[in-house]
Symmetry: C2
DNA sequence: ACCTTCGCTGACCATTTGGTCAAACCATTT
DNA sequence: AAATGGTTTGACCAAATGGTCAGCGAAGGT
């Protein structure tokens, strides 16, 4: 009773690749079948429709993102170190997962989010709010820090093609840039938290 | 010899709206025709093919982005003020133009960029490099600052739907957040430039 | 009034594409 | 070896979609 047969897995891998590259509207069932080395009819045998197959891929991808974002549970008080570790891990994850895929599809069809269970609490916010209550952390605007953090981590990867062009870097140079990048983000975020003057909730 | 007829403009407006909302693959010629209040045959009368029409829309959008990004020509030495002004203007522009459209389509078909004339020099880099040569500005890594700036400005808008959800803000709350946002970005960019320790080119 | 040009359209066409189905295939059981 | 049940597929279908074309009507020139 293995939950996923061999063919099923081949299809899922192929579908993920094609959907990420071409989007829901651009992807072709035949293309996915070819990539999986299987007939188109078999696709429909395992997953009744294109919509169905897509939903499966989207959900799994979304799930992985959620998993990475919920690594804020334990209560180390050394938030600087914790932030640095998280950033490195988060960035490594982003480099191997297509965030643009998620954004593109959500904007095409917002229902993709509406039909999902809501996370009760954002791990990041929770963690830092507790530190603030304990008086360990300044009263900075955590929402702002949260937005900054995600923006700095995500956008360079999403916008990779344009950055390479305008900054005249080839792939190797840009990869080198990305290698040290999360460290700089950490420096920046920590600096801005420490130096921010009194802030109230926006 | 008016360059653009009335119908032509109606088509362009409709096409921009539809292409931005649905992407090249998701957009339907009939849909664009309906939006423009015109027959599908007329679309092909003015723009021979879907590809043609799309190329026109994409080029014009790209052009506007380039225009905004090249406001770094004059040589005020008050870079802090200049940066603040630019950020406010740039952010205002981003709020009314679909950056996700550009990113989505470029990633679908990188040739869209390949076939474009390259800008000789990035205004931002040029401006700050000159200030560094004059010794007015510290030797910070300008590429990093450039990436930070774009990331902080662009991603909150691209990722709007998700941020609203995770931060539990409705549209009004998020709009309020965006209102002050570029000021915060300016604060933090200036802070990080001033406090960065010796950096060499990456 | 007639002709020409231009903008515009309904009807139509060829191809693509998601989806179906009966039949073939194959491993396992009896 | 025959029956069984899950897996796979070639052939096919209906709908959607980008694109074409002959022709209609209005505006302007003669």
């Amino acid at each position: 009773m293995s939950s996923v047969t061999d063919s099923e897995q081949k299809i899922l891998d192929a579908a993920k690749k094609i959907f990420e590259a071409s989007g829901y509207n651009g992807a072709r069932m035949q293309q996915i079948a070819d990539e999986a080395g299987i007939s188109k009819a078999s696709l429909h045998y395992y997953f009744r429709s294109k919509e169905n197959l897509f939903e499966r891929i989207f959900s799994e991808t979304m799930e992985e993102f959620m998993k990475v974002l919920s690594t804020w549970e334990d209560d180390t008080e050394d938030w600087e170190l914790k932030l640095r570790v998280f950033l490195v891990e988060f960035f490594k994850f982003l480099r191997t997962n297509s965030l643009l895929f998620i954004l593109r599809e959500i904007n095409r069809n917002p229902d993709l989010l509406a039909n999902r269970p809501k996370k009760k609490k954002v791990g990041f916010m929770n963690y830092f709010e507790r530190l603030q209550e304990k008086g360990i952390l300044k009263q900075v605007d955590l929402q702002l820090v949260y937005v900054f953090m995600h923006s700095l981590c995500s956008y360079p990867l999403i916008n990779q093609i344009i950055f390479k062009r305008t900054l005249k870097m080839d792939q190797a140079a840009f990869d080198a840039f990305l290698e040290h990048y999360p460290q700089h983000v950490a420096d920046f975020l920590i600096l801005s938290i420490k130096h921010s003057n009194k802030k109230t909730k926006i």
